[in-house]
């Protein structure tokens, strides 16, 4: 199974895609099996916090997982999603193959050939796979929520002390205790989940 670090790296990565591959993410492809498979892999990966099996993808996208459906899904993945580099195939054993998205943010690019050589030019905004399908552990969400909680509680504590609702001794004890907890949360967010909070909480 992949480490949490690897999953976070995939979320933070912005992958460049040529127009012919980027189309699988756009609305124009929403009825295509290819896009359904893509989003199904994302959802299943978020649930399992790791790569997913073909049978699971087939079940999610077609409602069945018999050999016929699995072959259909496998062919679709191999012909388009693997070729475009949207999905990665991981072989855990000869009979255990699993799939995972290579990234969760994609930039459409246009390749330009000139006498100076090849270069690429970004087109439009970065496309993000829906955030609620990102493979992020429960601990991260809880840390973000706790961070908010402690920040708000400290604000209230300061206001109550200014309003003479609590004595200095009590204020200092609680302030020290809550600040320490907030510092520990921030430290974990900055080390284990570095860069993730800003990305996830961005509107």
């Amino acid at each position: 199974m992949l480490s949490e670090e690897d999953l976070i790296a995939r979320i933070l990565k912005v992958k460049n895609l040529k127009e012919n591959c980027f189309k699988y993410l756009e609305d124009v492809s929403k009825e295509l099996l290819t896009q359904k498979i893509l989003f199904a892999i994302a959802e299943l990966t978020a649930e399992k916090m790791g790569p997913v099996k073909l049978s699971e993808i087939a079940q999610k996208t077609t409602g069945e997982h018999d050999k016929l459906k699995q072959d259909l899904v496998r062919l679709t993945i191999e012909k388009s999603l693997l070729k475009c580099g949207l999905v990665e195939k991981l072989k855990y054993a000869s009979n255990d193959v699993r799939y995972i998205l290579t990234a969760y943010q994609f930039q459409k690019i246009k390749e330009i050939d000139s006498f100076r050589g090849e270069s690429s030019q970004p087109i439009g905004d970065v496309f993000q796979i829906p955030k609620n399908t990102w493979p992020i552990s429960d601990a991260f969400y809880l840390l973000v929520a706790k961070k908010h909680g402690y920040e708000q509680s400290l604000k209230k504590l300061h206001a109550d002390f200014d309003g003479d609702i609590i004595p200095r001794g009590k204020y200092e004890t609680l302030n020290s205790e809550y600040t320490k907890s907030l510092d520990q949360i921030n430290e974990k967010l900055d080390s284990v989940y570095s860069g993730l909070e800003t990305l996830v909480m961005a509107k």
């Binding site: 003479d164 510092d183 996830v200």
Partner: protein, 366 residues
């Protein structure tokens, strides 16, 4: 006659073909060429025509891949027997303008290089540094890695300390605290790819503070240790200071020994009280006694003043007028804790409604 004409035409054709071949041969034999070869045949040789009057620029990558763990890097070229060193760099192309007035031979020399990767810290340097200013070194070179032992993560609060290192994840060594600020590995011979991993531990700052006197115990400690702290409260002349309590999280104090459990950066402060007993004993009481005697003599009459014990007089003198103590609401801790829970829940709800968190994960967490 017809046959004679045909024979003449065929003969003419043969003559023309031979003439044109001679022309082509003449053109090649007159053309200048550049022969490019590589020392030790690290790349195949090739030849390029040089057209007089036109400039010709030879272009060659500074580095190219040899196998999975090594590469070649250009270090010099020999043009018609004259060797010239190349300013070495890892990336980009080496270019050389070749005179086209005559043919030339150029031999490019390249050195095999291996990478030395360092993980676990960003605050390090190679000794000596790479000839290509990256982490690649010429085959056979001996290289050490110098690393700063401590990296401050949060100023005066959290830092990372290098505690050990390994080579190729096979051999492991501890780094002893010898008081130095940096550590240098023994030389590593670069005859293959090597990886150096440094292991780190977080350390937290303990600040022991006091408004007066000198404290002990301040410093950097690893998580989970218990540190004894203390204070020499001192005094100001006849006014003595005495420790009444310690304030701050995770302090255990039984009246004699104080200890702090390190679970993050922490500041503890000593609560020091002024002890006026010596002032009272040496100055106030004699003054009061003298004053009382003097007063009695001055009045020169027998009074019915009730004798009061000295202690009570002193108490009255030093009695402080204090404002009536304010009554504060009870159970503030609990209310603040409930407020914290509400805020955590509201943030989780907000993340769910803005589709940051999936329904299933929300149900598990809430």
């Amino acid at each position: 006659m017809k046959l004679l004409v045909i024979f003449s035409l065929v003969l003419f054709s043969f003559v023309m073909i031979n003439y044109s071949d001679d022309l082509v041969y003449g053109q090649f034999s007159n053309q200048n060429t550049l022969k490019v070869s590589f020392e030790n045949n690290v790349l195949p040789s090739y030849e390029m025509p040089l057209i007089p009057g036109q400039t010709f620029t030879l272009t060659q990558n500074h580095s190219w891949v040899n196998d999975e763990t090594s590469r070649y890097n250009l270090e010099s070229y020999t043009l018609d027997g004259e060797k010239v060193k190349i300013s070495r760099t890892a990336r980009g192309d080496f270019t050389l303008n070749i005179p086209t007035d005559s043919s030339h031979n150029i031999v490019l020399s390249a050195t095999q290089q291996y990478a030395l990767s360092v993980e676990g810290t960003n605050d390090f340097s190679y000794l000596p540094s790479s000839p290509t200013n990256d982490n690649w070194f010429d085959a056979g070179t001996e290289v050490s890695v110098n690393v700063q032992k401590t990296t401050e993560i949060e100023q005066n609060k959290v830092r990372q300390e290098i505690t050990g290192w390994s080579l190729d994840k096979a051999e492991f060594w501890n780094i002893e605290d010898d008081g130095s600020t940096s550590f240098t590995t023994p030389p590593i011979i670069l005859n293959e790819y090597h990886q150096v991993d440094f292991f780190t531990a977080y350390q937290y700052k303990l600040n022991v503070i006091s408004e007066s006197g000198e404290t002990t115990g301040s410093g950097w400690y690893e998580q989970g240790v218990t540190v004894p702290i203390g204070i020499d409260a001192g005094g100001d002349g006849l006014v003595l200071n005495s420790l009444s309590d310690w304030e701050g999280a995770d302090v255990t104090y039984d009246g004699n020994v104080a200890q702090v459990f390190i679970d993050g950066p922490v500041t503890v402060s000593a609560k020091v009280e002024k002890n006026y007993s010596l002032v009272i004993g040496v100055i106030v009481i004699p003054i009061l006694i003298i004053g009382a005697i003097g007063f009695r003599k001055f009045k020169n009459r027998v009074s019915v003043v009730e004798e009061k014990p000295v202690e009570r007089i002193v108490e009255k003198v030093i009695e402080r007028v204090e404002a009536p103590e304010k009554k504060y609401e009870d159970g503030y801790d609990k209310k603040l804790s409930e407020y914290l829970s509400e805020q955590i829940q509201s943030k989780l709800d907000e993340m769910k409604s803005s589709k940051i968190i999936s329904d299933s994960k929300y149900s598990k967490i809430k």
